[in-house]
Symmetry: C2
Amino acid sequence: MARRGAALELAVLGLLHDAPMHGYELRKQVNVLLGWGRVLSYGTLYPCLKSLTAAGYIVADESSTAEGRSRRAKIVYRLTAEGKEHFTQALEESGPAAWDDEAFGVRFAFFARTDTAARVRILEGRRSRLEERLDNVRRTAQRSRERTDAYTAELQRHGLESVEREINWLTDLIDRERAGLIEDPQDETSSTSQH
Amino acid sequence: MARRGAALELAVLGLLHDAPMHGYELRKQVNVLLGWGRVLSYGTLYPCLKSLTAAGYIVADESSTAEGRSRRAKIVYRLTAEGKEHFTQALEESGPAAWDDEAFGVRFAFFARTDTAARVRILEGRRSRLEERLDNVRRTAQRSRERTDAYTAELQRHGLESVEREINWLTDLIDRERAGLIEDPQDETSSTSQH
DNA sequence: GTTAGCATGTAAGGAGTTACATGATTTT
DNA sequence: AAAATCATGTAACTCCTTACATGCTAAC
């Protein structure tokens, strides 16, 4: 596994883990997880559902609305036992595949079902990935005498600032994880969540 | 035009407008324009250069290093008159095609060669696109009782904050444009352009 | 002399979009 | 009764990446 399109599959599996759903509803939820206003098309979602069905991770319950014939079926997808197993295993993975731009958001969304150690590993991995990028950019920016107009400089500045902010966010989250301020929602041990 | 892959073509044209370059150097520069640490592969760049050559917008100067035979050629690409024309025309376009995530960065990078009116139109278009997204997300977030765990909420919060920050950045830039604080580098007439 | 960076490409395939095609249900 | 939203899919296409294949040139 750890293919490129794994993020979508994981999102689907995780959402169906919460509750069975139609493809239509699923798409909206996936859009939230994928975040930042990008919308997933049905042309991507339905083939994905098909392949997950073929793999045996989900099943399609067609409630054929009585007489069955001409009516277009409404399909509710739900997770199988194998699907649950697969999802759980996928959540253990805390290596580079979980740090990618795409995958990270989805992994983060399911942190409630990920154990603390893995959470910290993922957050730290993500952070060092971004830090790497940051000084990569900074190095090449110095080295090559590049296009020096004010707009290019402003674009660069703004980009760096955004990444720095992202890194700070991750640092805060890591600190909070380590301090145990974010509790496992399954745990009933009193969580004194401090904003 | 205004195809999806137009951003890369525009970037190449714009960079070659500054100076003739090897494909190798071009890639590095494009990476800067595309920003945020993404790197363009040769598998994308060279076919693009080929198609731009076929279109007559650029020419490939092969300096066959004397005897010409077995040596692998080093190729310097440079803009033709038609390419220059095409680029200039492309910069006039200030509609939705210039507000896309991909395209916007590239358009911004060439703002020095774009007139103030078009700059403001693009910045405003970009801003309203982001605002649209923002309250789209906010609306759907309220409506559907969705996954309520702390991590999903935090992800959402962080995403919204980032977009808001982006909008503020754009607002500042628009104000500065209108106040004429950023001058056209070519212009010597002190333009206090007040929209 | 060998590593690192410079330099040019191609073939296969993956991930996703757009546009199309169809129909049911709810709200106004 | 019309409009909006819910709902399911497919075919063609595009952009881009990965992996491969080749060779030159400077530095250590």
